[in-house]
């Protein structure tokens, strides 16, 4: 940079610092900083939520990548993973008899090496179904952890001995949660966990033993990708490498909606900041006509002045971006800490990327919306120093305005990510803007009629509004934009929070019982009724592999998507239902009538993944027996309802003759959970799964997300308020002159105050009405199309719009004109000269 340029940069900064006295620079800084804060906080949190979900999924694998095979794995895999700086652990799992005080039971044995699990955590308790805690490490040498079912079946207590092969092991804890297993409910055998070091001593590992060997790998994504690329071509027969599957659909749904809401709030903050920047910089330009002309007179070229002013805008934008970025960073830090706690995650250090984006956004908003102002300023003739009446030539600002809008659109697309949400918000705002412009013009028309029926003071106020026609229209639009943001965020937030609250009802089931045999259905239903679960529903369940869709054989490798391949490989749980469950909605086709045969209803998500359409015939292989039917409906399933749900169901009787077991979900008060030992003792083949912990986790998570939503909401609220302040401030100079004229012509201070109050009240009511109309329409659109939530039109929004509009505009307007009434009229007239 040349010395002269550097000098200009310094001069620009000095001028900017001196500008600090003019209120608008401070408002602009606050508005843009707040918008950037909300933007960066949301970007940070969204990043981390995605990361959390990925890690959740990892917990089900107990790692980022799992290499598995039916023979011991080549140590070269482990060596290579270590060489790449990845964490590794091993396990061997197999079925074997475990012996205890009451006999022997077939158990699923897992022998794990230190470090297991690399992702997620084991939880242990001191007694079956008793309170649990996170485990530290694994059972030591000569020790074992057994799950509640094995403990019940073998009548084992902590401290007892269990015999495995040739080895006696001391039971030191009850294994209550093992996330790697929860990914597969059907790992039905009761669990016994030992240290890998004890495996050899059991004598169970022999040539021909059916053992699944696994190598768990975890670490940074680049190293994982490298390892995957290295290992894939080296996989032998019967070996496979798995990454994270699509886990926890219920959690993903909630977090998706939260992310979209947060995105919306940040989006609105950006739109509002842009609107504020536009208004403020317009006034800024107007107030700098004199300075521009004077500097031209002092010998500065136009190009140099444009550079000077742009440097000021850039400095202001960077300062706002910096402030906002720091605030956003602090806010996300708190939010992420809140979320990390419930997700039980060790979050990676936040990256600097969102911070950089915040800086960029601040800079872009101010500079882009400074351009139209700059364009006006550049047209101011130097001769203005001699003739004050000379303003800028009527210039074509359309190009500069379009450029500014293009920058805004770019920011929105970047922030929304979700094109639909972005399009709805932008389209809604533009449509609302046009409609509002017309509505305001129409509403202004009867003002003159009304004014002439009022006493002089309020008449003065109303006529002032009426006289400024288009300017009033623009001002009402700006004010209603601020109000719209407040109303919209409050309305949609209300819908969202209400939907979340309803999501997990207090009576949601907290236990699943699976593997119930057909002859046990009646006695178990009776047992449940005797323990406070009067109307438990038991669903039949048949496991079947999908063999053909519409006559085409299903070949997993033919699906490009990993999730589809995974689904096509595994067995489905099929069920038979008479009525559509309460938490299901038919999204295509029709639910069956009584007596229907050979038909299926398929969950819409899986149908989309596998390319299943209405009318397709599905063929399943259920334990060697064929099962087929035609798809007559697709269902949307609320996975976060914690009720029993199936991907594929048929009408009653469709599973006749197939090997079915039953599943049920019920709610048991935590205090009574110990009676489950009785259930398992009476029907040892039944497995009871405890989802209390998961539900508590979900509830806490939703509470925390609600809190996160509220925090970001507050930011957008503040920006909305500042936009209103800016809209009222923008006319302060003209208002001062107007008041000066009124006072000079003999209006008392009292008359001026009443005139002002009437004007602001009318402005507030107009803006409130426009904002309420726009908010109702947009809230409906968003609830219906984006958040897929039920939305009832709320007439209270009109009341709120009018009341809040009136109160806010009156209060802020009077505050913004404070001092103008008391100032001597001469001062106002001279300044305006």
């Amino acid at each position: 940079m040349t010395g002269a340029r550097l000098n200009d940069l310094r001069l620009a900064l000095r001028l900017l610092v001196r500008e600090w006295r003019g209120g608008e620079v401070r408002i602009l800084l606050a508005v843009v900083a707040l918008a950037v804060a909300s933007l960066t906080a949301v970007a940070f949190v969204a990043d981390r939520v995605r990361l959390s979900l990925a890690q959740e999924a990892d917990a089900l694998l107990a790692a980022d990548l799992v290499l598995s095979g039916d023979r011991p794995l080549d140590p070269a895999f482990q060596a290579e993973a270590r060489r790449r700086g990845l964490a590794v652990a091993r396990s061997a799992t197999f079925l074997s008899m475990a012996q205890g005080p009451s006999g022997a039971v077939l158990a699923g044995i897992k022998a794990a090496s230190p470090g297991y699990p690399l992702r997620g955590r084991l939880r242990v308790a001191d007694a079956p179904y008793g309170p649990d805690r996170p485990a530290t490490g694994l059972p030591g040498p000569g020790r074992a952890w057994v799950d509640a079912r094995l403990a019940t079946e073998l009548r084992l207590r902590v401290g007892d001995t269990v015999r495995l092969g040739a080895r006696d092991l001391a039971v030191t804890a009850i294994l209550s949660h093992e996330s790697e297993r929860s990914g597969n409910f059907m790992a039905l055998a009761p669990r016994l966990l030992v240290a890998e070091a004890d495996l050899a001593g059991t004598g169970l590992v022999q040539e021909g033993s059916r053992i699944a060997w696994r190598l768990f790998v975890a670490g940074p994504p680049e190293a994982l990708a490298g390892f995957r690329a290295w290992a894939t071509p080296r996989l032998g027969r019967g070996q496979k490498l798995e990454g994270l599957a699509d886990a926890r659909p219920e959690l993903r749904q909630v977090l998706d909606k939260a992310e979209r809401y947060l995105g919306l709030a940040a989006l609105l903050a950006v739109v509002l900041a842009a609107a504020a920047a536009q208004m403020i910089l317009r006034r800024y330009a107007q107030r700098h006509f004199d300075q521009f002309a004077l500097l031209r007179c002092f010998g500065a070229s136009r190009a140099r002045l444009i550079r000077l002013y742009l440097a000021q805008f850039a400095g202001l934008g960077l300062a706002a971006g910096l402030l906002g970025g720091v605030a956003g960073f602090l806010v996300q830090w708190g939010l992420a800490a809140l979320l990390a706690d419930v997700l039980r995650l060790d979050l990676a250090a936040p990256s600097w990327r969102p911070f950089g984006l915040g800086l960029g956004a601040g800079l872009l908003i101010v500079v882009a919306f400074g351009l139209p102002a700059m364009r006006r300023l550049a047209e101011v003739p130097a001769l203005r120093v001699l003739r004050r009446d000379l303003g800028p030539a009527r210039s074509r600002q359309v190009l500069a305005q379009l450029l500014a809008l293009a920058v805004l659109a770019g920011l929105l697309v970047w922030q929304a990510g979700d094109l639909r949400l972005g399009a709805i918000v932008v389209g809604g705002l533009v449509a609302a803007g046009l409609a509002a412009g017309l509505a305001i013009r129409a509403l202004l028309a009867p003002l003159a009629w009304l004014a002439h029926r009022l006493p002089p003071a309020p008449r003065l106020g109303l006529l002032a509004l009426r006289r400024r026609g288009w300017e009033t229209t623009l001002q009402v639009m700006a004010l209603s934009l601020g109000l719209l943001a407040l109303l919209l965020l409050t309305l949609v937030r209300g819908d969202l929070l209400a939907a979340w609250r309803d999501k997990i009802p207090a009576d949601a089931p907290n236990r699943f019982a699976i593997n119930i045999q057909p002859d046990q259905v009646a006695p178990i239903r009776a047992w449940l009724a005797g323990h406070g679960v009067p109307d438990a529903e038991l669903y039949p369940m048949v496991r079947g592999r999908l063999t053909a869709i519409a006559g085409r054989p299903v070949a997993p490798e033919a699906f490009p998507e990993e999730r589809a391949r995974h689904l096509a490989e595994r067995e489905f749980n099929l069920s038979a239902l008479a009525a559509l469950p309460a938490d299901n909605v038919v999204s295509a086709g029709r639910w069956w009538q009584a007596g229907a045969r050979n038909v299926f209803s398929v969950e819409e998500g899986i149908a989309k993944t596998l390319g299943i359409r209405l009318g397709d015939r599905l063929d399943f292989d259920a334990g060697g027996l064929p099962l087929s039917g035609v798809v007559t409906s697709l269902r949307k399933v609320e996975w976060d309802s914690f009720r029993v749900n199936f991907f594929v169901v048929g009408p009653p009787g469709s599973l006749a003759g197939l090997p079915a077991s039953y599943i049920t979900a019920f709610r048991l008060a935590p205090a009574r959970a110990t009676v489950l030992a009785e259930l398992v003792a009476a029907w040892p083949n039944v497995t009871v799964i405890d989802v209390d912990a998961v539900m508590t986790e979900m509830r806490t998570l939703m509470d925390r997300i609600s809190l996160a939503v509220q925090v970001v909401f507050l930011f957008s609220l503040a920006v909305g308020l500042l936009v209103m302040v800016a809209a009222l401030y923008a006319r302060r100079d003209e208002r001062a002159r107007e008041i000066g004229v009124w006072r000079a012509l003999g209006a008392s201070a009292h008359t001026v105050r009443i005139a002002l109050a009437t004007e602001f009240a009318a402005l507030g009511l107009l803006s409130g009405a426009v904002a309420a109309g726009a908010a109702s329409a947009l809230a409906w659109l968003l609830a219906e199309r984006v958040f897929e939530l039920p939305h009832a039109a709320d007439p209270a929004v009109w009341l709120a719009g009018l009341a809040v509009g009136l109160a806010l505009v009156l209060a802020v307007g009077l505050a913004a004109s404070r001092g103008l009434v008391a100032a001597p009229p001469m001062a106002a007239l001279r300044d305006a000269d």
Binding site: A4, N7, L11, R14, R18, E19, R21, G22, D290, Q291, L294, L295, R296, C297, F298, G299, A300, S301, R302, A303, P381, A382, L383, V385, L386, R387, R388, A827, D831, D833
Partner: protein, 208 residues
């Protein structure tokens, strides 16, 4: 100059030369074309025909930016309405043209000028906190801070009472003498004109 379809000659046949170091008053009633003449002399306005030469350079042979550069190198201005920037302190106002010219010692020179016009103790005050006379003294400090070779003044006493106006005239002429600048002052104030070395009278756009 064209106003609508009608040609309006604000200045016609005005031709004169001002020598270096001279003080010239341009007198005339309202609408006589005084301010238009000043605008042309400063290169702020352009004539439909005719030329203005400053040190042999034809102002209108230069483009806008060329004229601006010329002003920056050697002209100072004093205005009837002072033209101080309301958000800047007296010191900042005086510093502005110095900073624009890239002067490294802008602050010291501005301070010295403010002291010279007797406002050393008011440098932090903003124009709104100063009287009309004080504001014009700040404007004088600003004009002379850049050591101009040509000072153009537009009705410098027009917004002041006679007593204050007289003080401003004394100060302006003193400063002009100290710096050896050429002064062209437009005014309808005979008291001011009488203090200048030469008087030109404009009537209906022509030199009388």
């Amino acid at each position: 100059m064209w106003l609508g379809e009608e040609r309006l000659d604000i200045l016609a046949g005005v031709s004169f030369t001002v020598n270096s170091g001279e003080t010239v008053a341009v007198l005339g009633s309202s609408g006589s074309g005084k301010s238009t003449l000043l605008g042309l002399l400063a290169g702020l306005d352009t004539p439909s025909t005719g030329s203005v030469r400053v040190d042999g350079t034809d102002l209108f042979g230069l483009d806008e930016d060329g004229r601006a550069a010329l002003r920056g190198r050697g002209m100072g201005f004093v205005f009837q309405a002072f033209q101080l920037l309301p958000d800047l302190s007296a010191l900042d106002n005086v510093m502005l043209p110095l900073e624009l010219a890239g002067a490294a010692d802008a602050r010291e020179r501005a301070r010295a000028q403010l002291a010279r016009v007797g406002l050393a103790r008011r440098e932090r005050h903003r124009p709104g906190q100063l009287s009309g006379g004080e504001q014009q003294r700040v404007a004088l400090a600003r004009a002379f801070a850049v050591a101009p070779r040509l000072l153009l003044a537009d009705e410098p006493t027009g917004n002041l009472d006679p007593h204050t106006g007289a003080q401003i005239i004394d100060l302006m002429l003193d400063l002009n003498r100290e710096q050896g600048a050429t002064l062209i002052v437009v005014s309808h104030d005979p008291a001011l004109a009488a203090r200048c070395g030469r008087q030109l009278r404009l009537e209906g756009g022509r030199l009388a």
